[in-house]
Amino acid sequence: MSEHSKNLAHHFSNTEQQFESGKLGMWLFLATEILLFGGLFAAYAVYRANHPEIFAYAHQYLDRNLGALNTVVLICSSFTMAWGVRMAQLGKQKQLLWSLMLTLVLAIAFLGVKGVEYESKWKHGLLWGKNYNPVEHVEAAPAHGIVGEAAPVDPPEVPTGENASLIAPAQTGPAGLAHTSGEAAKAHEEAPDNVHIFFGIYFLMTGLHGLHVLIGMGLILWIFARSYWGHFGPDYYTPVDLVGLYWHLVDLIWIFLFPLLYLIR
């Protein structure tokens, strides 16, 4: 098992067999990942088919611009990762380290943007299930990018702040708010029941994806360290290749999540 000095494990007959095995194993693992997310996609499909109005209404509270920005960030990181694999293949250690570093920075940027989005959802009570407790002014004027614009307004400044306690339990959703002003009431009438389902699915999907990004960052850090120690070269770069595959999958899943959650209409 002296993989460092001699990278061929005793039960393989040659390095090619070992590399092929690793690659097949990784592909199978990626298949299980797709099925793991597949369960959530199925839940999404079932609820969207049964309650399209929830999705049409609730997705307006997601910030398209931030979502698009994150898509670009992840696509760039996929590119830098692929570049890293190529550099490992060619044995260019310095470029390999740079591209891994860049990938990491992009991953951090992705999580940062995600954090901004989560924070504003949290602030406005746009959460899952029982915790769905929308703050008035967001309800009153749904529009694209509203979250970004409304964020500077502190909840205590909202004149109807004390009405927040009147919010009906989650089952009846925002309709329970519809007493304060005429305009607000109009907006609330449009809000369908069970909007929280959308946010439940949103947080589950993006949360699980975020967890994968975190794991991916850990893996990138690990191969960064190993390439710093000079473990990889043109004849052995399997881990770089496999982590690259994993990272592309994480990216790919986001490419599905973005239109499904942000671009409904």
Partner: protein
């Protein structure tokens, strides 16, 4: 002589071993411990049901007991039994390989199993789960029991199962010797391959389902909660999308073992090799599209019920084909009734009942009456116990000499097999009758008219228990004082017997064996009276 058992010593040489054989043995010990635990719960259930109302425990304790019996037997015993314990030991040797493709992943899979088992059993000491092993919502999201610990355990066990499956698929694809084409592989490997595919494709869905359940309990996400506009029946779809294919994770490797045993102990090439191999794959594929037959009475649409009923019948055909092929293999054979063969024949008997009673449940009109009654309980015990457990015992007796280099007492083995056969049928055949007459499952209390049947069933379970005690005794005895096993006592032609001493050396083979023949061509091994063993001709 150096073998994998005495190659190195000390507890570290086991706990950190990368040798698939040692991992297989550790798995064997772990799953047998789980079986003991699950078996104790089974005995408690049967004892409680000796009379209507309270016999030895209250209703809540009973509900926890049957939940733990089910969860432990399914997740900790049956699913890993044949693939992870026997498969781990046998697969690389049968394949002429030195190890599985990813030995470290294999070890991790084992420790994940232990870790998951600890979580599952932890729920025992806290507030034992009372939901039934199916964890149906909204009961599971509202009960006060420690559902999270148990489901988290099941998720971890799922990962363990995925890693084993992944390892096997890669091993079979990449580590086969050049001469061994797919159609020269022993059928046990075909069945393990099909099983692994299901493990890889279905288990992640169980993972996400149980994670959703945990999210539901901890955060109130509302997906399955009718109070929040969620759909409790959606959970059942998710759950059975994994758990029905999981039934084939349990039965396919058992069929693989039976194919080996029937051929070896008839000393005849297996009849219809390709049909058996293809039918394994067919079962694995069809198995993904029949989950809805667990939900015929759940209120799902008539159309869905019709489709699921039709597809369910499609799975019965490959199973039937296998049975006919095994029978045809016996024709003009030279049949030895050694212990493994007794189990193989018992498998055919019991699996025939298990399979044929499945027809009543696949048929819509009769399933409405039989669903969630003891008929279902009897049916799946005939398949899971009469099928998988019996084949596991057959495999254990078959590979025992290879694993430990010791022979057990044939006479005691035959006696134990007889006890289990009689006890099993007493226990579960009565349950078919109770089921058709309307006895619902998971009942603590029951109408007087079922008392006699329940008592017969309980007595049967004690007889069965006795059989297991006997097996444990003579197997442990054989380890200490058993006769030394020759390299090939059964005259098998697969690599683990024909090219490998008992027990195998650390690296299995010094070099890749070249035996470019059919795995069931017995002309290559000849009996030698002096060593009481078969040798390559």
């Amino acid at each position: 002589m150096s073998n994998y058992l005495n190659h190195t010593s000390g507890w570290k040489s086991w706990v950190f071993t990368l040798d698939h054989k040692r991992i297989g043995i550790m798995y064997l010990v772990a799953i047998l411990s789980s079986f003991l635990l699950g078996g104790i719960f089974a005995m408690l259930i049967r004892t409680e049901l000796l009379s209507p109302g309270q016999t030895i425990m209250d209703a809540d304790t009973y509900n926890r007991t049957f939940t733990l019996h089910g969860a432990i037997m399914i997740f900790l015993f049956i699913i890993p039994s044949i693939p992870a314990a026997l498969g781990n030991f046998v697969l690389p040797v049968m394949l002429g390989a030195k190890d599985v493709a990813f030995p470290r992943l294999n070890l991790m899979s084992f420790w994940l199993y232990c870790f998951g088992a600890v979580f599952a059993v932890f729920s025992l000491v806290t507030k034992a789960v009372d939901t039934g092993w199916t964890f149906y919502t909204p009961y599971s999201t509202t009960t006060s029991a420690s559902v999270i610990s148990m489901t988290l355990g099941a998720v971890i066990l799922g990962f363990s199962s995925i890693f084993t499956g992944l390892n096997f698929v890669v091993t079979i694809h990449k580590l086969r010797p050049k001469w061994m084409t797919f159609f020269k592989m022993p059928l046990f490997l075909w069945s393990l391959y099909a099983t692994s595919i299901i493990q890889i494709l279905a288990t992640p869905v169980l993972g996400i389902t149980l994670l959703l359940l945990i999210a539901e309990r901890t955060m109130g996400i509302g997906i399955f909660d009718p109070g929040l506009g969620g759909d409790p029946v959606l959970y059942q779809h998710f759950f059975w999308f994994y758990s029905h294919p999981a039934v084939y994770i349990m039965i396919l490797p058992a069929m693989g073992i039976v194919s080996e045993l029937i051929s070896v102990f008839s000393r005849k090439t297996i009849f219809g090799y390709r049909a058996i191999a293809y039918s394994s794959v067919a079962i694995a594929l069809f198995g993904f599209f029949v989950w809805g037959h667990h939900m015929f009475t759940s209120g799902q649409s008539t159309l869905a019920n019709m489709i699921f009923s039709l597809l369910t019948f499609s799975v019965s055909i490959p199973s039937a084909i296998k049975v006919f092929n095994w029978l045809a293999t016996l024709y003009k054979g030279s049949i030895s009734l050694a212990a493994p063969m007794l189990y193989a024949l018992m498998f055919i008997f019991l699996f025939a009942i298990g399979g044929l009673t499945g027809l009543f449940l696949g048929t819509l009109a009769t399933d409405v009456h039989l669903h969630d009654t003891y008929f279902v309980v009897a049916h799946f015990h005939y398949v899971m116990f009469g099928g998988t457990m019996i084949a596991f015992l057959g495999g254990l007796h078959y590979w025992w000499p290879k694993m430990f280099g010791k022979m057990y007492s044939e006479k005691l083995a035959a006696l134990a097999a007889a006890l289990i056969f009689v006890g099993f049928n007493m226990t579960f055949f009565t349950q078919f009758v109770m089921g058709t007459r309307g006895m619902p499952r998971r009942y603590y209390n029951y109408p007087e008219e079922f008392t006699t049947a329940h008592q017969i069933s309980s007595i049967g379970s004690y007889i069965m228990g006795l059989g297991f005690v006997l097996i444990a005794s003579y197997l442990v005895y054989s380890l200490m004082w058993g006769k030394k096993a020759p390299g090939n006592p059964w005259g098998a032609a697969t690599l683990e017997w024909s090219h490998c001493p008992s027990p195998p050396p650390h690296d299995n083979f010094a070099e890749v064996p070249s035996q470019d023949t059919d795995p069931y061509d017995y002309s290559i091994v000849k009996y030698d009276e002096e060593s009481d063993s078969y040798h390559l001709a």
